[in-house]
């Protein structure tokens, strides 16, 4: 009898253990296996384990997915669910509301867009470190491409040989500084990401061009001549140029100053067609000077008729 009793007790315990094991199997959250990294916009599978139905959640930078899934089948992640780069949290809850979770990263797709800034829009010629170029490299979903890549900045002056500078991106940004060249006129700066071919290894070559206007620097060798007629003196400068021979743009102000016995008188006049002109009425001897910006020109002494 005792043997039969022990056997019965053993069977009861075993049955309880099997039941507990089954119940714990149902209560345990399904397994979730995610890849460590996937490319932006690439569909993939997340393998799950378990039985029955569960609820799958995907929480990413710009979307949230919730769907009922079978724990026997892998979960299909659509390309549209992982377009934004960043960290994603996958969560699987089984029918007993027990949840398990995992994290994976989505990295940017290959470069597809360049965002290019060139500053300033006008710059004097021959001015060191006066032009700044910054380029941000984005993929087709406008994620910053964080893996280092080379951006070529190709500089093409209006009259003169072109040249280029290269910069490697850091956190998706590349930049460079350069001085303006010696001649006025438009200068095109083109940012190029890729290696110059239209399509290499499926990566499109990216180009963005901007134009900067180089203008003459400060006036240099400013000089004027005077023509006297009675007590009227007509003054005219030679063509106003900078030290590189570039004509100062029309509208640049030139100042003529007269000092005579009546005192000091100044006329500010804009350059028109490359030269500046004005007239003074003088009474007796007068000293006339000319200036443009920080440049002082020649001085002329005239002797007007006394009226």
């Amino acid at each position: 009898m005792p043997t039969t009793h022990n056997h019965f007790a053993f069977c009861k315990r075993a049955a309880a253990l099997v039941l507990l094991s089954l119940l714990s199997g149902w209560a345990r959250a399904g397994e979730l296996h995610v890849p460590a990294v996937v490319g932006a916009g690439q569909a993939f599978l997340i393998s799950v384990g378990g039985s029955g139905q569960g609820t799958f959640y995907l929480v990413g930078p710009d979307d949230v997915v919730k769907r009922t899934v079978s724990l026997r089948n892998d979960v299909q992640i659509q390309a549209s669910d992982v377009r934004s780069a960043g960290r994603y949290r996958a969560i699987l809850c089984d029918s007993s509301s027990s949840c398990t979770s995992a994290t994976f990263d989505v990295k940017a797709a290959p470069p597809a867009h360049l965002s290019f800034f060139l500053h300033p829009s006008r710059v004097p010629v021959s001015y060191p470190d006066s032009i700044d170029a910054t380029a941000f490299v984005f993929d087709r979903y406008f994620n910053l491409v964080l893996s280092p890549s080379t951006v070529d900045f190709r500089i093409t002056p209006a009259g003169g040989d072109g040249f280029s500078r290269s910069s490697t991106t850091r956190y998706g940004a590349a930049w460079m500084r350069l001085g303006s060249t010696a001649h006025e006129g438009p200068v095109q700066v083109t940012a190029v990401s890729g290696n110059g071919n239209s399509s290499v290894n499926g990566n499109v070559n990216l180009e963005e061009a901007r134009v900067i206007q180089q203008v003459a620097a400060e006036a240099c060798h400013l000089s004027m001549k005077a023509v006297t007629s009675g007590n009227i003196v007509t003054l005219e400068t030679d063509p106003v140029r900078d030290c590189g021979g570039n004509a100062l743009p029309d509208g640049t102000v030139v100042s003529f100053t007269k000092i005579d016995k009546e005192g000091k008188s100044t006329v500010d006049t804009p350059i028109r067609k490359g030269v500046a002109r004005t007239q003074f009425s003088v009474n007796g001897p007068a000293q006339i000077s000319v200036a443009c910006g920080v440049m002082l020109g020649n001085e002329i002494v005239v002797n007007g008729k006394n009226i």
Partner: protein, 183 residues
Amino acid sequence: MKSITDTTLALNKIASRLAKAASLGVVMAACALGIAQSLPPVQLDANELAPRPIEEFTGTTIARHYALAWHDLAGALESGRTDGLGDEFVGFAKNRLVQRIGDQNKTGVHVRIADHGHHLKAVFYSMDGTAMQLLDHAQIEIQIFDGDKLLDTQNELHEYLVLMTPGADRWYVRDLEELPGKP
């Protein structure tokens, strides 16, 4: 006698108004303090910034508006409301958040963030002053709910790459991207 009564009434009214004004002031101060206290702490390190250095005022403005951005972000993710996001977010960052909150509202999911602070390191400031990139080491606790049911809790260091650009009176978060975790 009447004039004494009138004076007493007038004094009572003035005292009552002063008390109301004082209590209103206390409430307003408390609200201001509450708002200030609810902002997450943000530290900015710009020692290795290139190619241009940061001005002190710019640094202060960036830290303040980045803290406000996270305050608004946490509020929007929990409440499901997007109306306040435009105060601190623009461009891709705003679009992505608006889309995510729309998805949250459709699925019934919401996120609660306990923000313990951010250590910002400025890594790039464009010469023309129109863009700044920063790395954010954020200590935040993220809880994901479906309705009232807590699905998941993460309490770890997160690293974000941030692109900020200046507006008329503030710096906006233009891009906010979480970087891959360290293996």
